[in-house]
Amino acid sequence: MKRITMLASALLVSTMLASGGAQAKSLVYCSEGSPENFSPSVNTTGTSLDAARPVYNQLVEFERGTTNIVPGLAESYEVSPDGLTITFKLRKGVKFHSGVNGFTPTRDFNADDVIWSFERQLKEDHPYHKVSGGAYDYFNDMDMPKLLKSIEKVDDLTVKMTLTEPNAPIIANLGMDFATIASAEYAKFLLDKGTPEQFDQFPVGTGPFQFVDYQKDAVIRFKAFDAYWGGKAKIDDLIYAITPDATARYAKLKAGECHVMGYPNPADLEAMGKDEGITVMNQAGLNIGYLAMNVTKPPFDKKEVRQAINMAIDRDSILKEVYQGAGQKAKNFIPPTIWSYNDAVKDYDYNPDKAKEMLKAAGVENLQSDLWWMPVQRPYNPNAKRMAEMMQADLAKVGITVELKSYEWGEYRKRLQAGEHQMGLLGWTGDNGDPDNFFFLLGCTGAREGGQNISKWCDKNFEDKLQQAKKVSEKADRTKLYEELQVISKEEAPVVTIAHSTVFEPVSKKVSDYKVSPLGRHEFYGVDIAE
């Protein structure tokens, strides 16, 4: 079957090419790896999510290049006054892709598809729940099983979602890839054929591009979907050339073998900037790199000590040396691109003398501490080891002797979450642009052993406001609460906020209307290419 589909699509494309296909606009994206499969609900890596995104839509979506929520498959939604039900009005006349893997849809998109897509992840007795491993990581991470009481069809174009408690961030969550809407009819078609696992390998969606072919480690092909509800894409063919080596991606971009590339080597950026055929686009990343101090281990239980450490670390030098300028100093725990960013917060200035005094006043002398650094490069921290060494030197100046420590990456995170460290480096990349998606990392739920709050800091005032901000639905009210959270966390200083790194994307000058996504996505609907 697979071969027949491939042959059919190959023939189709070759006919296209032969019959004056010279006008066909192809855009090649040099991607960094092969996807696990094409179902966003069962994936976690950016690579896999990027590979499935052209095919699908969500109820609500992120406006390209921003974190603003705009209507997707739902034309509108309404939240009940008690915040417990959300009613979605679905778009009419939305078509599914036809001809992928032998499937021809007989109906338009409707409420059944929405129900199917959520119930696959929610209900353990759903016929597709166990297909492809059955681990719905993002769905679980966003607390959906706990939050989602039911999801019902009111009529063909109306869906009612009932929650167990009011939750304002859920709308932003529904714009994420895990909340992708797939075709219930296609699922049934494959189940009847006895090949449900193909559901995640040959994707059928409502998105701007239709899946054509995938060759592991080599290429993914899509073609523009003529009947796309948002209007046909400006390019005809979208090709992902899988190119794992960053230098090779750059060489391909230079040679015109691809038009957009992800994840450039920081060292190549300067040369890229000088290249006549390439534009290096950039955007402040939706991330934060920080140093957490474990408040359960004295003397880090003392606010003054934590503040002193904030003053003892020379972040400007770190920015220059570790980020090579490709980042901005972090004042708050959220990056300035997220709404509710509080610019009025007063940051700690680098002042080793004052830090020394404060430590002395707090009765801390000859402090010995460990400082953990992760063994891997992360988007928010290009070189944790170097950063740790610089901090070690800074802290030595105020009389703190630091021992550097590291573990294998999985082990590292587990031990940090168990609270074994005194000080440790970590960071976060946002999923959906909602402030809660960052601040939960400082909340009390995460401060328990094994939780994600690795400073183990649990402040009642902070926690109350954090919970309240989740429950109120007015954005203005939420903004005010998050602004307060930034004041509290700066004052209490459970972490040293280090930097928000910048995301760079080299793009061929032939490409127009490409937008760098703050969410780290690579999106091609709306992008055009000169012949």
Partner: protein
């Protein structure tokens, strides 16, 4: 001959058992497990971790996992990838043709250039040709592959625009199905105009890069073997008979000098299949080397175990065949105890 064959076959059994054990254990000695490694800063609750480990059978005692693994292997079941959920054998067979295609081309390149270079160097011993060729061979042998690949791309593709940077096919111009997995064949089958030359062009740089080290080895081996043979009495006799130098060297000497060279070529097939990792990475070549490296990063136990077993088996079989041919050529080997 039959006894020789049986003896050699019997020797492979303990090799396979050791292989199974080593691949299984080595991967589990690497810190980190497949579930946690994917989670990054997001973390995972201990309950959920236990649940997933149970589903993957990772909570079983090690010996039980090993027995299950061996039992599966004996039934031809290599397991399913933790990451993609595809059968390992299917993934391997999908990627292996690309590796074979590249390895064969590299070996042909190395042989076609290496043997004549060695012969020329030997026949002009100590002369300029000899010095230059052997100097080049030494450089080739010590060339850092990654650097060599990138330099070639920079010169051949980015500056002279003679070859494509990477991949196996011009993705914008050509699209044909993978029938055999060998692009040289598939491009011909496709009937698309220009597809075959395009596939050849894509093979040039990876072939040179992967073939450089074997080329150096073959050239040096041919030279030293030739020098030895040229000292033999029958060569002197042939010369004394007044035969033309090309006949002496090309027919009388080369034939005998080639025996050790053939062995070296046979042995390098194994290292080419397994050692194409760097070349595959630089040139985005969708082969098994790159797949294995990725599996290490992802702690995809079944993929690693299965992949290494399959490659090792092929290497063992190739070595066996080389031994057999050697036995055929040289009866002394056959009868040695």
């Amino acid at each position: 001959m039959i006894r020789f064959l049986l003896r050699r076959l019997a020797l492979t059994v303990p090799t396979f058992v050791a292989l199974m054990f080593v691949t299984f254990m080595m991967i589990r000695l690497v810190p980190g497990d497949p579930i946690e490694v994917r989670r990054g800063e997001r973390g995972i609750s201990p309950e959920r971790l236990a649940e997933l480990r149970h589903e993957m059978g990772l909570d079983q005692p090690i010996w039980k996992q090993f027995v299950d693994y061996v039992w599966g292997l004996l039934h031809g079941d290599f397991g399913v990838s933790i990451i993609t959920k595809n059968p390992i054998l299917q993934e391997f067979l999908h990627l292996f043709p690309a590796t074979i295609e590249l390895s064969v081309c590299a070996l042909l390149f190395a042989t076609i250039i290496g043997i004549p270079a060695g012969v020329i160097a030997a026949s002009r011993r100590g002369g300029v040709y000899d010095q230059t060729l052997m100097g080049l061979a030494l450089t080739g042998y010590s060339m850092p592959i990654f650097w060599w690949g990138l330099i070639l791309i920079l010169i051949m593709s980015n500056t002279l625009h003679l070859t494509p940077v990477s991949g196996r096919v011009d993705l914008i111009k050509y699209f044909y199905p993978q029938v055999t997995g060998f692009m040289l064949i598939d491009s011909l089958i496709s009937g698309q105009k220009g597809a075959f030359p395009d596939a050849v062009r894509h093979l040039i740089l990876p072939t040179i890069v992967l073939g450089t080290v074997p080329l150096a080895i073959i050239a040096r081996m041919t030279r030293s073997s030739m020098l030895e043979v040229l000292e033999e009495d029958y060569v002197r006799t042939a010369r004394a008979k007044g035969l033309a130098p090309y006949r002496v060297i090309g027919i009388h000497a080369l034939r005998n000098a080639l025996i050790p060279v053939v062995t070296v070529i046979g042995l390098s097939i194994g290292s080419l299949l397994a050692g194409a990792v760097l070349t595959e990475t630089i040139f985005s070549w969708p082969g098994v080397g790159k797949w294995l490296i990725e599996s290490i990063g992802r702690r995809d136990y079944p993929a690693l175990q299965g992949g290494i077993m399959l490659i090792s088996s092929i290497v063992i079989v190739v070595n066996l065949l080389v031994d057999l041919t050697y036995g055929l050529i040289n009866p002394r080997i056959r009868h040695a105890r």
